[in-house]
């Protein structure tokens, strides 16, 4: 019991982020989130297969508009997210520090890196096509060019440990290239993802472009992997090799593009690999004549 005169804290209810709104899990379930020392932090919504389905519907709905925006505009929108993240720096540092068990300075560095990474990816929006696209000198009277286009609705299992930097690092490249995503967040450390959702909700990122599901990857990811209206799946955060294999096998049903899990140094320079992961190459031919 709080002693008299001490203010009672208003605790936040943590919810899912789907289609720009914050619904509870349709299953009505939640789970306890603890800090790195095992102390209770919050109750998070525990997403179900139906939440995953709703999230994909939202992602699919948002894809047309988001992918049709100019690359310049997507870059601006993602840069705006970086600005907002910077504004919530202290909150993120707190959450990363408690969730990941880091020192204050380490947590600050993680948040700084996360902001910088968003800025870095924001700048890629209108450059990636020039780096991976091409004009192709075909042997005939045709103009022929190849351009990258976003793959579509991408399901992602975010890293379990690196709950902010890892999350931002898988999310940003997919989104900035025009994909929409359904993210299964870190199960044990979901708070930075939830706060990021709040940032996104107040940013210029249209609802449905990013959807966050807190909960168990083992429970939700199989529904996303087998979903015929998901175009790709990023298994980066899947730590169980057998689960990763099963998800990849399931993803084969509609030939999803699969990014397999593997160890990542989130602090290192990322390269353009992740940007290219969820891009298709479209090649257009046209005759040259009078």
């Amino acid at each position: 019991m709080p002693s008299s005169g001490e203010r009672i804290e208003v605790r936040k209810t943590y919810k899912l982020y789907i289609g720009g709104a914050f619904p509870r899990s349709e299953s009505g379930r939640s789970y306890e989130v603890h800090d790195s020392k095992g102390r209770f932090l919050a109750n998070a919504a525990q997403a179900s297969r139906k939440d995953a389905r709703d999230a994909d519907v939202a992602a699919r709905k948002a894809f047309g508009g988001w992918s049709a925006k100019t690359a310049y505009n997507r870059g601006q929108v993602v840069y705006r997210v970086a600005e907002l993240l910077e504004g919530r720096r202290i909150q993120f540092v707190d959450e990363v520090q408690r969730g990941e068990g880091l020192s204050r300075r380490q947590a600050e560095r993680v948040v700084d890196l996360s902001v910088d990474r968003l800025v870095w990816y924001a700048g890629w929006a209108d450059k990636v096509a020039q780096v991976v696209g091409s004009a192709n000198p075909v042997a005939g009277p045709y103009f022929n060019f190849s351009l990258p286009e976003p793959t579509g609705a991408v399901a992602m299992v975010a890293p379990e440990d690196s709950s902010l930097l890892g999350l931002v690092s898988v999310l940003a490249p997919a989104v900035v290239t025009g994909n929409t995503v359904v993210v299964v967040t870190s199960y044990s450390r979901p708070l930075p993802a939830i706060t990021l959702s709040e940032v996104l909700a107040t940013s210029d990122v249209p609802g449905g472009v990013v959807n966050m599901l807190t909960g168990s990857a083992a429970e939700i990811a199989p529904w996303l992997a087998s979903h015929m209206d998901v175009n790709a799946i990023d298994l980066t955060g899947v730590e169980d090799a057998e689960l990763a294999r099963a998800l990849e096998e399931s993803a084969a049903q509609n030939l999803k593009r699969v990014r397999r899990p593997g160890p990542v140094d989130w602090a290192a320079e990322p390269g353009i690999d992740r940007l290219a992961s969820f891009l298709e190459t479209k090649t257009v031919w046209h005759p040259i004549g009078i």
């Binding site: 045709y142 005759p287 009078i290």
Partner: protein
């Protein structure tokens, strides 16, 4: 086809409506048209088909001399060759016509007599067409009066390229009228586009329709004085035009590529194109001609090769 039959009177009622009609014709993609012509050029015509094609090609030749240095002697020799291209072989057919300047019509007519080989005369200030209308019409009447069976007129390319379509149309109408003979018959009118100056296939399609609506009996690619002269794809577009024109009007119009066709192999490629684009109905000198001079000897050499089984040389054929 189901394209709408043009109401010629309405279409040609003003420059604007004529422009609307011509610019409403389907476009021609250059690369696609060239690819189609190139594909047809890969047809392999052998043995009996080749014999058929060579004889047919000979009958389609408008044997031509259009030089400043032409003389009655030259035209007489050419006419003799037209009637009997291969004096050594009586089975060799005659060509369709000789094609000459108007002042040579009388000489040619005299030589050709009742042979069936026709006299085609260029007219209308050939090859540039740069003269007053009265002069072009007088040129035409003069050739008809001298006995020309066919008139090969040139269009006013300047007027066409500057968009004065109605002027081009009216001039063709006027020349057609000038083709009339006192007995009520008329010389057949071939309209030369000079496709090398019109340059685009869209223009070739438009001028084809314009000329056909104005009453051309034949549409002809070139004067032979401008490069490129006849090309396979340009002729392809014209063959499509006559085919489509017959589909919507019921009227057949002939096609004559002229200039630059020198080898039998090329002539056979043209015939394949006629066969597969316009259709077999056009495989007839009434509906398809080659404006050529050196082509004839190559056809004769090929013909001899087919008949004798060995190759022959230019010394065995007349140079007229």
């Amino acid at each position: 086809m189901t394209a709408l039959l043009p109401d010629v009177a309405e279409v040609t009622s003003s420059d604007a409506s004529l422009r609307r009609f011509l610019h409403g014709l389907p476009g021609v993609d250059q690369v696609g048209a060239e690819a189609r012509a190139a594909e047809l050029a890969t047809r392999s015509i052998k043995t009996t088909a080749k014999e058929f094609a060579i004889d047919l090609a000979i009958t389609m030749v408008d044997l031509t001399t259009l030089e400043g240095q032409d003389t009655p002697g030259k035209v007489r020799a050419l006419s003799a060759k037209a009637m009997r291209p291969d004096p050594a072989d009586p089975t060799c057919p005659a060509v369709a016509a000789v094609c000459i300047y108007p002042d040579m019509v009388g000489v040619a007519k005299q030589t050709l007599g009742e042979s069936g080989v026709r006299v085609a005369s260029v007219a209308t200030a050939f090859p540039s067409g740069r003269a007053a209308r009265e002069i072009k019409l007088a040129d035409t009447r003069n050739a008809v009066a001298a006995g020309a069976d066919e008139i090969d007129m040139v269009i006013d390319r300047g007027a066409f390229l500057s968009g004065r379509y109605l002027e081009v149309y009216e001039e063709i109408l006027a020349v057609r009228e000038a083709c009339a003979r006192p007995d009520g018959s008329e010389a057949h009118l071939k309209v030369i586009f000079e496709t090398g100056e019109l340059q685009t296939f869209d223009n070739i399609r438009r001028i084809s329709w314009l000329a056909m609506m104005a009453g051309a009996h034949f549409i002809k690619t070139s004067t032979g004085k401008v490069q490129p002269a006849a090309t396979m794809p340009g002729t392809l577009v014209m063959l499509e035009a006559v085919r489509d024109f017959r589909d919507v009007t019921g009227t057949m119009v002939g096609v004559k590529p002229a200039g630059g066709i020198r080898a039998s192999k090329e002539a056979i490629r043209y015939l394949v194109m006629v066969n597969e684009i316009a259709g077999a109905d056009w495989l007839d000198p009434a509906w398809f001609r080659f404006g050529a001079s050196t082509l004839l000897n190559d056809l004769l050499m090929q013909r001899t090769k087919m008949k004798t089984g060995h190759y022959t040389g230019p010394d065995y054929f007349t140079l007229d």
